[in-house]
Structure formats: C-alpha cells, structure tokens
Symmetry: C2
Subunit: 220 residues, 2 copies
Amino acid sequence: MSTAEQPAAATSRSREHTREKLIDAAFEVFAEVGLNAASVEQITERAGFTRGAFYSNFDSKVELFFAIADDKYTRASAGLQSGVDAILAEALPVGHPITADALETIVTGVLGLTVVDSKLALFESEFEALALRDPEIAVRYAGHTRAVIAGVAALLEAALSRIGVRFRLPPEQATRLLITAYTAAMKTHLLAGGGDQPSAADLGDVTALALVLTERMPDS
Amino acid sequence: MSTAEQPAAATSRSREHTREKLIDAAFEVFAEVGLNAASVEQITERAGFTRGAFYSNFDSKVELFFAIADDKYTRASAGLQSGVDAILAEALPVGHPITADALETIVTGVLGLTVVDSKLALFESEFEALALRDPEIAVRYAGHTRAVIAGVAALLEAALSRIGVRFRLPPEQATRLLITAYTAAMKTHLLAGGGDQPSAADLGDVTALALVLTERMPDS
DNA sequence: GCCGTTCGATACACTGGTGTATCGGGGAGT
DNA sequence: ACTCCCCGATACACCAGTGTATCGAACGGC
C-alpha cells in the first residue's frame, strides 16, 4: 500500500484537467442561473463531458460549488499585491499632486481587484443567498467574508497612507462599508444591463463614501 | 352584462380570502427556500389548499411572487408616517438634549421600518437575486427600489432636520448608502443565526456611517 | 507489449414537480 | 327552497433531473 499509491498520483493529471473544466463550466452556469436552477447536465454539457464524469469527480452539486469558491479565491489572492502596486503607480503618476482623484482611483481600483468581473459578483451573490438559508454554508461564507475584508482593509490602509490619507473610522469598519457600497454599485450596474466593469457613474456612491470616510493625515 | 357582474364581485370575497392565504404562505416559503426551490405544492399545502386552488388564482409561481411584492409594500407604506412619528417621540423625549444617540435612534428606527423582519429581508434578497438574472424582473425591482429610496430619503431628511442635523451628501445618495449598510447588517445578523431584530452591535456599521454622513445644521 | 486499473460514457430506474382537464360541492341570488 | 355558477379538489399525462450500475477504452507500470 506504500508504493501502490504512486500511480494514483500519476493518473490524476488528466483527472485534474477535467476537474478544472468542470469547475470553470460550473462557475459560468452558476453565475447565469444560480445553484438550484443549474442542472448537473447543463454543467457537464458546457464542459464537454457527460454526467458520468461529474459523478466520478464530485459527490454533489454543492461540493462542486465549494470547489469553485476555493479555486477562485486562492487564484484571486495571488495577483493581489501586484495589482495594488499598479494602481498606486496610476494614482501617483509623478508622486506629488495628491488630489481627490487619487483617492477615488485607489479605492475603486482596490475594490475592483476583489470583485473582478460580473460573473464573480453573481457567484458571490449566489453564495450569500445560499448562506442565508443554510447554516452550514453560512459558516463557510462568514469565514470567507472575514478573510476578504481583513485583506482588503490592510491593502487599503497601506495604499491610502501613501497619499497621506487615513480612515476616520476603524479600518475594518470603513472597509466593510466600502465593500458593501461597491457590491451594491456593481449590482445596480448589472441590473441596468451593464457589462463587466461598472462605470464611474455607477461608482458615484462609492467615491462619495470614500471621501466622507477619510481625512488628511496630520503632517508628521 | 351591466348588472350581471354584481354576483362576480360578491363571490370574489372568499376568493380574496384564499388569495391572501396563498400569498401569506408563499411569502414564508419563498423566504425560507427561495423561489426556485419552492414548489407550488409546498405553498398550497401550507396555505391549507391543494394545487387546484393555486392554478385557479395565479398563472404561475412568478406571478404569485409579484403579487406578494405588491401586497407587502402597499401594506408597509401604510403605517410609515405614524411609525416615524413614534420614533421621533422616542428620540426627542423632552425635546431639548440632542445627542448622537438621537441620530442613531432615528436612522436605525426609520430604516427598521422598511425592513421590518427577517422574512422580509430574505424576500427582498430573493427579489434582487432574481432581478440580477432576469431583465424583466430587473425593471420591476429597479422601480421598487427607487420608490423605497425616495420615500425613505424624504422621511430621513425631515426627521433629521428635527434634531438640527443634515446630510453632508445629497439626501438620496446618503439614503442609498444607509439602506445598503442596513441591509448588509441585517444579513450578517441573519448569517449569525439571529432573529428578526438586529442588535445594536449588528448595527454598529450603520450608526458609524450615519455619524460620518451627517453634520450639524448651521444655526438659523 | 501485455495487463490492470481507473476514468468517463451510456443506460436505467425512479423521484418530484408541473400544468391541464374534469368533477363535485357549496354559496349567492331570486 | 331552488337553481346556477364558480371555486377548489382530484386525477392524469408528462417532463426534467438525479443517482447508480455497468461497460469500454485509454493510460501507466512491469
């Protein structure tokens, strides 16, 4: 039993592949129609497999849902710091004139890193909806949310201090409010039939909120 | 055809009754499991009827969903002004000492009037989720949301002026932010397994937001 | 190059839900 | 009290989806 498990690791390469294809397909389908309305067949069809492949890789639709969540968020957190650096470069072109624009660029930019596109927003919304009804999912969702907020709060605080600005509230609280507002803006954007990226007009509430939530740091 | 319609109006009394029972039952079931997961049988069973009664009164589940929305919100808007008066009475016991407490009482009180209990919050969340995927529902939802915000904004502005406070942002914008924050707070409260009423701790973000969003009116 | 293992496809039995068509009972009007 | 009519119950046909059990084929190890 010691060496017999070696082949299992070898054969699992193509298996990983179909697993990923299933995850990608399911991500889209879930975003489009929701978990309940999505049938296993819909997912496997889009992935180019049959239901047999699904049941060979996952026990249930919900398990697949969680697999997506894990996958997406480990993936997303990877490119986070570099994304923030890029935003800071944009917000501080030469480094000297610090305007309200810089604040808006940073806030909407950083928040945009966590809610990358409309499909992710829809998935997130679905996650929340499920959590509201299933206590077991709720704990997963709560943990996920907490992690995101803590991460974003740290990023935001650091980025803002670069332009000499700080929150007037506890950073985590301010971040929660900003994320909530950003998510709401994304949703109204989607409700109006918009595409992946919310326009500046959609984000009006967010930028206004950012202004009210911040203040100049006392000169050191 | 002129007098022949009189009986129709008479017989429709019991019909109205079963219609209401169906609406009430569906409201609960939708809140519990969502629109898709809810079966017509679940609803009629809880209402004490069979599926025959349902199809005699409604064309589809979705139509029933809209009927609920109409019903609840015409009902809710009825007692709104008196509710605000009561809140003001609490916030201004004698009328003189105006504190931050008064502000919090007013904001959370008024917002609490529009999101009465957890079932309504869940229903609303379900409404949004559906709207995000169905453009036809989206326009209905958008209209509903706009109406609510306009109403609440007017109420809030009037109530706040009573304690000499005003928004630092356009009232509708401030109201949108507050409602969003309140809804989020309600959701985290529900996610934590809480009951109908969010605690003061749950509303911490909302009250903090209310403080940043407002300022003293210049003395006249 | 052969064999064993395992992955994914196919087939099947079954469940839960839908919508329609029909029927019986009870209330309203005279 | 009688009649008519409408509401809601019952029965039926149908469909979409699920999960399992079986099978063929491809891949890796020896």
